[in-house]
Symmetry: C2
Subunit: 363 residues, 2 copies
């Protein structure tokens, strides 16, 4: 590694093996451990580091507190026609999300469209992963997450928070390349970006946050003193957040679980709705995907605005980052790596059993 | 009316009767004429005047050009499981939208969820009307419109337009009151508001438009000289617009109709997808609607920001305007009324057969 531990770099498969080993030591069955580690590493590969392996210590902490049951398997709690309700049984959210998406795809193949609710599921991870999973099976899909409590999102026109970040995702398969994927919080900025700005000592852009008295602020510290985040796009983003709250919670029934006492507070009454639509519902799927291909080509051919390299399609930044990181590895802050080592040790995996970043050149 | 023709005011039922009479004289069956006029008047009642009776002369012009077939009835062109494809047969879009929503609700009641494509449909009118129609039958719903051509919306990071305004709508039924309804163009501003700003000689807000060279502009005139509109909320609104394009067009097959030569260009290859989800899919519908009621109450109780009267729920501005206009009538610009009179005369309905605004006090 040389003299600085500022950053370390690993190939994806090394981080995957490491994560799987740690989760297994923490009580997860081998297959579960591998699935969860893989989901985290994929988030890193796609550039969403806030949903990547830095979550390992957090997940272990939740296991220790009984909030995540590492051996729990999702089950279908109810089904009717083209719908199903999947319970994560308070296990890893990734397992619940993947199982629910499998179920949504299966029913979309049968009925043309499906809606699958997900409840009792903890942190679902990067929700874009589920629309990608559906796209790989020729399905358009969307995910609406709601019920994450009353922090940190302010309703449009308000001076105090009343909603969670309520992420949404939507995607569509494209012939011969990565799908179109939208995946974001309905707040103007993600909480992860506030952490980054604080650590860098930089102000936030204007128009994204208010302080506890409802006044606009750009100071990242203010967020941690009862500050709150404005919705993206004013009333338009706010409305999406409300729909996510309703579809993710009121529709699925995530509000009513009485066994939620052990889960982390933010997830106790959270839920998600996954809607899948088979690309072949109205015409041959290959035709729909070919038209999607023509659209992404048309968008990329638009001359970029001054200072912009090129017009990107939704999901393209992630696809580009994935190509680059698959080739050259995933870079982690030294602090992140040390916290993973400590987490590993806490479940009996000594550092000598884990890879050393010294084995690889840091760029 | 007094000396000024600046505005006139009519009760909704008078405008409805007028509109129905005109459409019938233009070749629409009595029932069709009433349905279309009713949809336009309802848009006025809800404050969406750009989708109201000012469209009557435009629709008549389209009938004259053979773009709208006034006697055409929508038909189910295909069906499979929980999906159906409705063709408007190049009749009034409102008929197609209402029929498709009926179909979506029926299938959502049977399968829990449904997806209905709408093609060959001309102007669908106010798309929020369809999620309201579904909400009245205890269904959450969403509408995605795509394929409206390559004007006026700029992809995020671009310097030229490549998409239509691609409106979207979503809604959820609420116990004991109007549903939550989101209904907007995915551009930062609606074209109708540019017309209003131009007529008033006022600049547009910054950040909504670029000129033909890709430079930011606030001059409404610039829009009519190959100007283009930015998406709302940067890449987030842009991504929604791309999803609407894919679901409304690539999925439904709206791009492939060869009989579209007579339709107005913007609608030739446009389509929409309506997704309906029964509120009782995962729990009793009344429970879901009661939780929705608790959410809207929670949102309204949030202390408003400075200068804001109160926090509103999505759809509440429309519900308020509807109450007010149902009581006190719909106000139209004198110019709008004169153009309706002229349109009426063009299909053989003389002004003396239409109501006179002089019968009513103008406020």
């Amino acid at each position: 590694m040389g003299s600085s531990m500022e950053t370390v770099r690993f190939p994806a498969e090394v981080l995957l093996g490491t994560g799987a080993r740690i989760f297994q030591a923490a009580g997860a069955p081998a297959e579960t451990a591998r699935v969860v580690a893989s989901a985290l590493v994929e988030a890193n590969l796609k550039g969403h580091d806030s949903h990547g392996v830095l979550r390992i210590p957090q997940y272990l902490d939740r296991i220790r507190k009984g909030q995540i049951k590492p051996a729990a398997q999702p089950r279908i709690q109810g089904e009717r026609g083209a719908t199903a309700l999947v319970s994560g049984e308070w296990g890893f959210g990734q397992l619940a999300g993947i199982a629910a998406t499998d179920e949504a795809v299966r029913r979309a193949q049968e009925y043309g469209v499906s809606a699958v609710g997900v409840v009792r599921c903890n942190h679902l991870g990067r929700v874009g992963a589920y629309v990608e999973q559906a796209a790989a099976k020729d399905c358009a899909a969307m995910v609406w997450v709601g019920g994450l409590g009353t922090r940190p999102a302010v309703p449009h026109g308000g001076s105090r928070s009343a909603l969670g970040t309520n992420p949404i995702s939507a995607g569509f398969p494209v012939q011969g390349e990565h799908p179109v994927v939208l995946d974001y919080a309905t707040t103007a900025i993600a909480v992860g970006k506030i952490m980054v700005a604080r650590d860098a000592g930089k102000p936030l852009p204007p128009g994204v946050m208010i302080d506890k008295n409802g006044r606009p602020s750009t100071d990242p510290e203010v967020f941690y003193k009862e500050g709150a985040l404005l919705p993206f796009g004013g009333h338009k983003g706010y409305s999406l957040s409300v729909i996510a709250e309703l579809l993710g919670q009121a529709l699925t029934g995530a509000d009513r679980y009485q066994d939620a006492g052990t889960a982390e507070e933010v997830f106790r009454h959270a839920g998600a709705l996954i809607v899948a639509i088979h690309a072949g519902a109205f015409r041959p799927a290959e035709e729909a995907k070919a038209v999607a291909r023509r659209l992404v080509t048309r968008l990329r051919m638009v001359p970029p605005a001054q200072g912009v390299e090129s017009v990107l399609t939704p999901g393209e930044p992630e696809a580009r980052t994935m190509r680059q990181r698959t080739a050259s590895g995933i870079e982690l802050a030294g602090e992140t790596w040390r916290s993973i080592l400590a987490a590993a040790e806490s479940v009996g995996v000594p550092p000598r059993d884990l890879p050393s970043p010294g084995d690889l050149p840091a760029e």
